[in-house]
């Protein structure tokens, strides 16, 4: 009887904590939906998703979020293109190639990079990278998509590299041994056996990194330029959803359509990150089978 109770208590506690988590997430979702729906009084869903002009506080407001979400996707996509190959490469290097002594230095260094406050990165983008881009490459403004994507790339590197390394290290020793026993070289073992074995883990590492970039606010607020246009080149300024919310929420009248439109953007971001999360879960499930 006592043993039963001793078993039940931690289980109840853990279930309680987990359940609280679910309730909080559910409450946030309900809150976002409730706060964003009133915007539909002033703008149709179609107009918001495909409208090219974002003039929320004009006398006749326009709530076109097309440049904003395209900006979010563009800056995130570009940062993924720049950073993921390098991050995954670094993970593979750390796990498969790197001598132990060197790894003891690089791995903590990469992990410390993950603690770097994003506002510091944004500041570097503003005062170091932007003027450099202007002087060396003659672009109109250094506060642009390229600058922000580069910084976001740095931001996602530690997450992706260390998760990649983790999933490669968890490949069973038997798999490697089997490969070597068949006469494969180290290079062949790494790229034909170990990496494909850990592919799903690496995939979910990449998606987590992309989510980090998609939700990042400070870096894009400071370094992306903030012009609500659809970028036509890599050095055009963009205004991602996150920076629009952060910049506009403080000064907008609470309860106005603009206010509700900002919540709608939050909902869009939540849906996007949830989609990515589900993708990760689907990947993980397939791995288990």
């Amino acid at each position: 009887m006592d043993a039963m109770r001793g078993d039940r208590l931690p289980r109840t506690l853990v279930a309680g904590v987990a359940f609280t988590g679910i309730i909080v997430v559910g409450a946030i979702l309900v809150f976002l939906v409730k706060e964003s729906l009133p915007v539909l009084r002033d703008a149709s869903l179609m107009e918001m998703l495909t409208g090219p002009y974002w003039y929320p506080s004009q006398e006749e407001p326009k709530f076109g979020m097309l440049p904003l979400w395209v900006g979010s996707l563009a800056v995130t996509g570009l940062s993924a293109l720049m950073s993921l190959p390098f991050s995954v490469g670094l993970g593979i290097f750390l796990s498969e190639v790197c001598p132990r002594g060197l790894r003891e230095i690089i791995k903590p260094a990469v992990e410390v990079m993950g603690f770097l406050p994003s506002v510091v990165l944004g500041f570097i983008g503003m005062v170091v990278i932007a003027p450099h881009l202007q002087e060396r490459f003659g672009v109109l403004t250094g506060l642009n998509m390229l600058n922000a994507s580069f910084l976001l790339g740095i931001l996602m590197l530690p997450t992706v590299a260390s998760l990649t390394e983790d999933s490669l290290s968890s490949v069973p020793k038997e798999v490697r041994d089997g490969s070597y026993a068949l006469g494969a070289t180290r290079l062949e073992t790494t790229f034909r056996v170990v990496v494909p074995y850990a592919a799903r883990g690496i995939g979910s590492a990449c998606i987590l990194g992309v989510m980090r970039a998609l939700g990042e606010t400070m870096v894009v607020l400071m370094a992306a330029g903030g012009a609500a246009i659809i970028p036509e080149s890599l050095v055009d300024p963009v205004r991602p959803l996150t920076s629009a919310i952060a910049a506009e929420m403080g000064e907008t009248p609470v309860g106005s359509s603009h206010y509700h439109a900002l919540f709608f953007m939050g909902l869009m971001l939540l849906v996007a990150t949830m989609g990515l999360n589900l993708a990760v879960m689907a990947l993980e499930r397939r791995r288990r089978v």
């Binding site: 506080s57 932007a130 003027p131 202007q134 506060l143 903030g226 403080g250 000064e251 309860g255």
Partner: protein
């Protein structure tokens, strides 16, 4: 926060004069001098506690309407919809001018342009003029910097320069007054605008508008086209410690902090 405000409010309603608590919320533009003035006031009147927060003009006004703040700091006048909402809740907003601000167009120190008319500024900001040579500068494109459409600084620009026309979507937006100076100082092609308190001539070059220099005098007498008043709103005519604080703010002791933070005082 809201619970705290409500608790403070109850405390004030039950307290005696000059031994209460004042809650002040609103524009981040007023925050620096409101904060230091509040600290000085508390030192002089140990019975009074003032809590100051800067949630933005809109949030401050919302708090006044909801009755969760005594003083709403605002860098703009209340919008008609806000006044109507206040009335339906039985709140009568009363406006107190506590300082002047002067929004000055700025360019990179290397830019030869030193004067623009309001119309030229308007054409630059709406995207009709895109090259410096059209306004007497070199044959180089203009990089237009603006503030967020919901910031108090932008609203002045919108009223006095753009006059209801939308700013070009190609304009870059910077998130704060400090970032504006940073960005203009680093870009020879840029034009921006910022409060007089932030304009540091070591880094940026202020422009005249219609031939008028942006100075404290031209801000006070309204000659400078983009000067504005800064407000503290109260519910009804202020009484007790709130009145004492507003009087302090407008008096020489409070105005000292206005000057110290780079704004323009009510009197020279």
């Amino acid at each position: 926060m809201r619970v705290l405000c409500a608790a403070l409010l109850v405390g004030v309603l039950g307290g005696a004069a000059m031994a209460g608590e004042i809650v002040m919320n609103g524009s981040t533009t007023l925050l620096p001098f409101a904060q230091s003035a509040a600290e000085a006031f508390m030192k002089a009147n140990p019975g009074v506690k003032i809590s100051v927060s800067g949630g933005g003009s809109g949030n401050g006004i919302k708090a006044l309407i909801d009755g969760t703040t005594h003083i709403a700091n605002s860098s703009r006048e209340m919008k008609s919809e806000e006044i109507e909402k206040a009335k339906t809740k039985g709140v009568t907003p009363v406006k107190h001018v506590v300082a002047f601000d002067c929004i000055i167009p700025i360019v990179h120190p290397s830019n030869p342009v030193s004067n623009l008319t309001v119309d030229q500024l308007k054409n630059i900001y709406t995207g009709k003029v895109r090259n410096w040579k059209e306004v007497g500068g070199p044959d180089k494109p203009i990089v237009v910097l603006s503030r967020d459409t919901s910031s108090g600084t932008y609203e002045v620009w919108e009223q006095k320069v753009l006059r209801k026309e939308p700013v070009s979507p190609r304009a870059l937006t910077v998130a704060s007054s400090g970032a504006m100076i940073q960005t203009v100082a680093k870009n020879p092609l840029a034009i921006g605008y910022d409060g007089i308190g932030y304009v540091d001539q070591r880094f940026v070059k202020p422009l005249k508008i219609n031939g008028v220099d942006g100075t404290p005098t031209t801000a006070r007498n309204g000659k400078f086209p983009t000067a504005r008043e800064l407000y503290m709103y109260t519910n009804g005519e202020p009484k007790g410690e709130v009145k004492a604080f507003i009087d302090f703010m407008k008096g020489p002791n409070g105005q000292r902090y206005v000057a110290k933070e780079g704004f323009v005082t009510l009197k020279p």
